[in-house]
Amino acid sequence: MVTNTHLNIEAVSKSFGPVTALTQIDLKIERGSFVCLLGPSGCGKTTLLRIIAGFEKPTKGRLLLDGADISDIPPHKRGFGMVFQSLALFPHMSVAQNIAYGLKLRKASAKEQRERVEELLTVIELPDIADRAVSALSGGQRQRVAIARALAIKPKLFLLDEPLSALDAKLRDNMQIELRRLQQKFGVTTVLVTHDQTEAMMLADELVVLDHGKVQQAATPTSVYRQPANSLVADFIGAANLVRTRVGENGRLVLFGNTVEMAVDHDPGTAVNVAVRAENISLRSAQADQEAAGRVVFARDLGAFKEWLVSFEDQEIRVRGSASDEIEFQVGDLVTLTVDPARISVFAAS
């Protein structure tokens, strides 16, 4: 079998005293791929990145880089470029000195250093800031310099710990595009930690959803979005509704009072959770005497789309419709909810 695995994380566990941060993490990271570790805060994603970087030692398991065990190699000998959440640009060095620092440690000549700094400043489209103090830069400029500093050493792995979380929405969007462009240009294997699922979907070739210290799903963004592996993933990715319901006596799923024409792998009568996205539910006006109707309890028009909260039985369901929809639903309207069976995922209720 031809393997293109660059980093192989084998059965890595980590505990801090009595607290377990990671349990049995197995991951293969492809050469040149962009992997996003995604999860809510406290899920262990940053710990995993710090283990890859070498700042934390795994309690169990090992890391293989191109097949060689690097678990015991200290961070300064791993040759991985890292961008920190705080960026950690050295305040006592100029922009050029920051970018050249890794090269200086590698005993590159002054000429090599200067050329590489120039090259990187051109790539990040800030050619004139070499001599500036870090404190004189804007947030977006600092971001780019931190990325340039990490890439200057031609790292074997490029690691980023929520680097964009401090930027405002517009700048963040630009930086995501920029980051992806840089990563493709240098072809460097990249691992980025984020809690922002839009960011992860936008950047990643492979999305690794972590929760409770375990890998819940590792797949392409599209398949994580379309086929979440379990209800934790479904709940975390996108504006999904997790609807408590049951499998009918005929083995068919009962959803919003209607039988859905799809086969399910659960016994008749069992309780299940159904993940269904807000945009995959459609609303129709219902008559006052109609059974299986919900009531609109909240309506808002967000310009790009409209959103409603529908109270159905004892649950509130979020529904999203496109802005071009002719129909207007007001708070208090009775509605029926229908779904496309191809767009739902069914999980055993825990």
């Binding site: 961070p75 300064h76 705080s86 890794g102």
Partner: protein, 285 residues
């Protein structure tokens, strides 16, 4: 947009008592300056630099040199001791040991200087614990003279000024984000290199601040050279006192005091200027 901790007007109001407390001190300084320019030794009369001229003696010169030397050496020793101590303090995880260490370092600040000096005399004096033990063990025949000389004064200065250095350095060490160190490490710097290239430069303002406090404190020391120097170590504080007390040379004492203040300010200004010079040359174009 910006919300101040305390609006300036209120802050000024609350600070008024402090200003009132500082005023007499400033007045005293001015009074001493005026006295140093008096043509009489015992009263303020006329305007003359006679008092300064009278100080231009080999004796006073030796005292100035000794004061600067001892203050400088003590500061150097204190900094060498305080930096590792500060790192230990910031790395202690157990709050019990951290408090214990804090109290042990802080104790000299709380304890009266006399008590500390007598402690040293009991320990290291001619008939102190150390000498009697060594004598009893037959290692020495005559007591070692560890006190009432420069060594004794140096010992005292280091001991009393150590806490003044440790706490500002602890603050400076705490202020360094670990991400800076990790960033250096990820770029390929080992522990030692990170310390040299990142930790020390980031600590530098804190180190200079601490060293300045220690130097000023030691240069103006009086009780320690008096008690542990046994009059043989004529630091300026002692010389100034002797001019006043047995000699009633008020204008001479005032002039010597002004020289001490001027020298201290000069050394501190020069050191902070040097630091600014070495840290900003590469950032500005």
């Amino acid at each position: 947009m910006s919300t101040e901790l305390l609006p300036r007007k209120q802050a000024l109001l609350f600070a008024a008592p402090a200003f009132i407390a500082i005023l007499p001190f400033l007045a005293a300084c001015f009074f001493i300056l005026r006295f140093s320019l008096s043509s009489e030794q015992g009263t303020i009369e006329g305007l003359s630099i006679q008092a300064y001229r009278d100080l231009m003696t080999p004796f006073f010169g030796r005292s100035v040199w000794l004061t600067l030397k001892l203050a400088f050496v003590a500061t150097l020793i204190v900094m060498v001791l305080a930096v590792p101590l500060a790192f230990v303090m910031t790395s202690l995880r157990s709050s019990f040991f951290r408090r214990l260490l804090t109290i042990s370092i802080l104790l000299p600040l709380i304890l009266n200087l006399l008590v500390q000096a007598y402690g040293w005399i009991l320990l290291l004096g001619p008939s102190g614990v150390l000498n009697s033990t060594l004598k009893a063990m037959g290692i020495i025949e005559r007591p070692l003279f560890l006190l009432f000389n420069e060594t004794g004064v140096l010992l005292g200065l280091v001991q009393t000024s150590l806490p003044l250095a440790v706490f500002p350095i602890v603050g400076a060490v705490r202020a360094i984000s670990p991400e800076y160190l990790e960033a250096a490490s990820s770029l390929g710097a080992g522990h030692w290199r990170t310390f040299r290239d990142v930790t020390v430069p980031l600590l530098r303002p804190g180190l200079v601040g601490a060293a300045s406090i220690v130097f000023a404190f030691n240069a103006s020391a009086f009780a320690i050279p008096l008690l542990l120097g046994g009059r043989r170590v004529q630091m300026m504080g002692l010389v100034i006192r002797d001019m006043i007390s047995p000699l009633f040379n008020w204008s001479g004492a005032a002039a010597a005091g002004m020289i001490l203040i001027a020298l201290t300010i000069f050394v501190l200004a020069a050191s902070s200027w040097l630091v600014r010079l070495t840290t900003t040359t590469k950032e500005t174009r």
